[in-house]
């Protein structure tokens, strides 16, 4: 038996892919997360009220989702409901993260695959193609910076936000600052659309060239965004079966009864499944489970996706087009929210900390994120972080198997396999820092 090992790049965190082959047959495809810091263990014994500032450090890319969900988990434990203004500001915070993340995944992680480059950051004044890539990278950086600036506006600090507090938020957003951001978002929308149009076209061209990314088969889909339109500051999780019907709705409190979780023998990240079946979370799950984007331009793109690929749609390259739709949505929706006043007095409600158990939920860019804390004497006695990338582990490995079987025949390995492995993994945009935490 031979094991082929593929290092991974242009993803968040440390991981590699291992493919075991015997007599030309693919025995297994393993996604191996190779880092762990141990958050579930080391938060034991720390004061519960510090969680919203400590858990964003699980991941600097997904920090906002961890910040907001930690606050919601404590609110659940303390029996507190934040006022509407606070919920709106938290939603805005999550949109900043969506914008930042989708821009990074689209233009920095996966665009190089479409243009046959290792990176878009190769500065070269002579080579016309490299120069074009470089200019694209610079525009992409401006779009994603807008996302972090939105996080700063709504969350205080730009990577590890601080403004969501138990009971609400610690301040509103002054009108003049909201207006400045609104103008920037409105100006950025055409540039984001232009970048996404180019991305869409290059994606279709790549599809025509290579066929499938690796796995076009049905799966279960899971998301917590709204049924009618997206809402990332979410409250319940929905599952769609491979036939395209919503087959389960559950609260974060009952996740253990619905999802099966297994630790992995060969990776620091575990794996979840639904009724023994492979689950997909992230943008394609949302595209399949949302009726409407709720904003004009993004909904136009969603409509186009449905005309071209149907609903539910299954090819994994559509995760990437889905991310582009959400990039546009995040800009439009954030602008809509900033048009309404966000500087009211009613930012938070008083609360009294108490011992007990809490569950929290948000839709992170990679899917539903659940935190669960048990609090004793004001300190964390037990914590669980149910990470969206972990839901996708089974579907990543299934897609890797399809790709491996395509490029390994008899005793030859087509060198295209290396690129295929990268394409498959990046389509799911896994976050290893979160998955292993």
């Amino acid at each position: 038996m031979t094991t082929l090992t593929f290092p991974l790049s242009r993803i968040e965190g440390h991981a590699r892919v291992e493919i075991e082959v015997q007599n030309g047959k693919v025995i297994s495809t393993r996604f191996k997360a190779t880092e762990m810091r141990g958050f579930e263990i080391f938060v034991q014994g720390i004061p519960a009220e510090q969680m919203p500032v400590i858990v964003p450090r699980i991941c600097g890319v997904c920090s906002t989702a961890h910040h907001v969900v930690a606050v919601k988990t404590l609110e659940d434990a303390y029996g507190v409901t934040p006022p509407p203004l606070a919920s709106r500001i938290r939603s805005l915070l999550l949109l900043g993260q969506l914008l930042q993340n989708q821009a990074t995944s689209l233009f920095i992680f996966t665009m190089p695959d479409r243009v046959g480059a290792d990176s878009l950051f190769e500065m070269d004044d002579v080579d016309v193609i490299k120069k074009k890539h470089f200019e694209m990278a610079q525009r992409a950086l401006k779009i994603r910076e807008l996302g972090t600036d939105l996080i700063t506006l709504a969350g205080g600090q730009f990577i590890h936000p601080v403004r969501a507090v138990v009971g609400g938020v610690n301040a509103g957003i002054p009108a003049e600052r909201a207006e400045l951001m609104l103008n920037r978002l409105q100006q950025a929308l055409p540039m984001a659309c232009e970048l996404f149009d180019a991305y869409w076209e290059l994606t279709i061209r790549m599809k025509d060239r290579i066929g499938s990314w690796g796995d076009d088969q049905p799966a279960y889909y899971i998301t917590s965004t709204g049924k009618v339109r997206p809402d990332f500051n979410s409250h319940e999780i929905r599952v769609m079966n491979p036939e395209g019907e919503c087959c389960e709705i559950f609260s974060p409190r009952s996740f253990r009864e619905v999802l099966e979780f297994k630790e992995s023998e060969y990776s620091y990240a575990g794996k979840t499944s639904y009724k023994g079946g492979v689950i997909r979370a992230n943008s394609l799950a949302r595209a399949n489970l949302t009726a409407h984007m709720g904003t004009k331009v993004a909904n136009g793109y969603l409509h186009r996706l449905r005309i071209e690929f149907g609903i539910p749609a299954h090819p994994i390259m559509l995760f990437e087009l889905g991310r582009g739709i959400e990039l546009v949505y995040a800009i439009e929706r954030a602008a809509q929210m900033l048009e309404q006043p966000l500087d009211g007095e009613d930012t938070d409600v008083p609360y009294t900390p108490r011992d007990g158990e809490g569950y929290g939920l948000v839709e992170a860019p990679r899917g539903p994120l659940i935190h669960h804390y048990v609090i004793e004497k004001g300190k964390i006695a037990r914590a669980e972080f149910i990470i969206p990338t972990v839901h996708n582990m089974g579907s990543i490995e299934r897609a890797l198997k399809v790709a491996a079987e395509r490029y390994i025949t008899g005793d030859t390995v087509n060198m295209e396999l290396e690129k295929a492995v990268g394409r498959v993994v990046r389509a799911f945009d896994p976050c290893i820092a979160c998955a292993t935490h």
Binding site: F42, N170, Y266
Partner: protein, 295 residues
């Protein structure tokens, strides 16, 4: 630390830099991407987050983020510095081990090491460790994460960069003589007065002795400073006790908060994470980092 400025014109070549990410959260990398002026001035040759390159080539500057948590981290680190003219430790994790250091506490360490019973994954080291336990460092860039402005200063002209002495100088909140809180408010509460010093409002803010340069985004947003930039130059070469006492002195002067209440807050994990990154929190008896090497 190399004293000379990296001059892009004289050498007629663009300086090259690489980013090695060890066990961390990638927040430092996200901040670096925000500092996009570097794209015009430097050639990025290795940064797995944004480019497919699998070995660190020869570079003028190597930025290291994340702490050393696994044997693989240690291996990558030792190999990478061989090819670098100047090595910069970036962020709390590289400088102290960071948030992962909470796993070094005796009460959780054993639980922790049990979790690594898996096939062919990098082994966890007995403790999370800072990068300068393994390789010499030319420059320390503290912050969780350092801001884009600080990244640009570290890349272009660290010797010429002058940060404010403490966070208070960048915060702009008013300190009041006659508003002395009796007790701490806790770490996060709503209804923060936008103008008044957070200590006057009863928050355990340690911006009074934390080095400046971050432009005080947290305190200006109403959240007490947790000290992620480390101690000011006055305190940086002293042990953690000196820093602790300096903070206590400030609270004695500005509040009526009882000593034990304050001490409990200052030693709690959220603050301890950052508070002692330059001295003894990460364990061992390593000497303090000289202030000339800290941006």
């Amino acid at each position: 630390m190399a004293e000379e400025k990296i001059n892009t014109h004289e050498q007629n070549t663009v300086p090259r830099f690489a980013v090695l990410q060890l066990s961390g959260c990638a927040g430092c990398e996200v901040s670096l991407l925000n500092a996009h002026e570097w794209t015009e001035k430097f050639q990025l040759t290795y940064m797995p987050l944004v480019s497919s390159a699998y070995d660190v080539p020869e570079v003028d500057i190597l930025l290291i983020s994340g702490g050393v948590r696994t044997d693989e981290d240690a291996h990558h680190l030792k190999n990478a510095v061989k090819n670098a003219k100047r090595v910069v430790a970036v962020g709390t994790c590289a400088i102290s081990g960071g948030v992962a250091n909470l796993g070094n506490r005796d009460e959780v360490r054993q639980l922790f090491l049990k979790r690594q019973d898996r096939l062919d994954v990098p082994r966890l080291l007995p403790r999370s460790r800072p990068v300068d336990d393994f390789v010499p460092i030319d420059l320390y860039l503290p912050g969780c994460p350092p801001t884009p402005e600080l990244f640009m200063a570290a890349l272009t002209d660290p010797a010429g960069y002058q940060a404010s002495l403490i966070v208070c100088q960048e915060c702009g909140r008013k300190k009041l003589k006659d508003q002395k809180p009796e007790h701490l408010l806790g770490f996060q509460k709503g209804n923060v007065d936008p103008e008044i010093c957070l200590i006057n409002q009863g928050y355990a803010c340690i911006g009074t002795s934390t080095r400046g340069g971050c432009r005080a985004p947290c305190t200006r947003a109403g959240h007490p400073c947790v000290g992620c930039r480390g101690p000011s130059n006055v305190l940086i070469e002293k042990d953690s006790q000196a820093w602790l006492e300096s903070i206590q002195k400030v609270f004695h002067a500005m509040t009526n908060i009882p000593d034990d209440e304050l001490k409990e807050a200052l030693l709690s994990p959220q603050l301890a994470l950052f508070l002692f990154q330059f001295s003894d929190y990460a364990g061992g008896d390593r000497p303090p980092r000289p202030k000339e090497k800290v941006l």
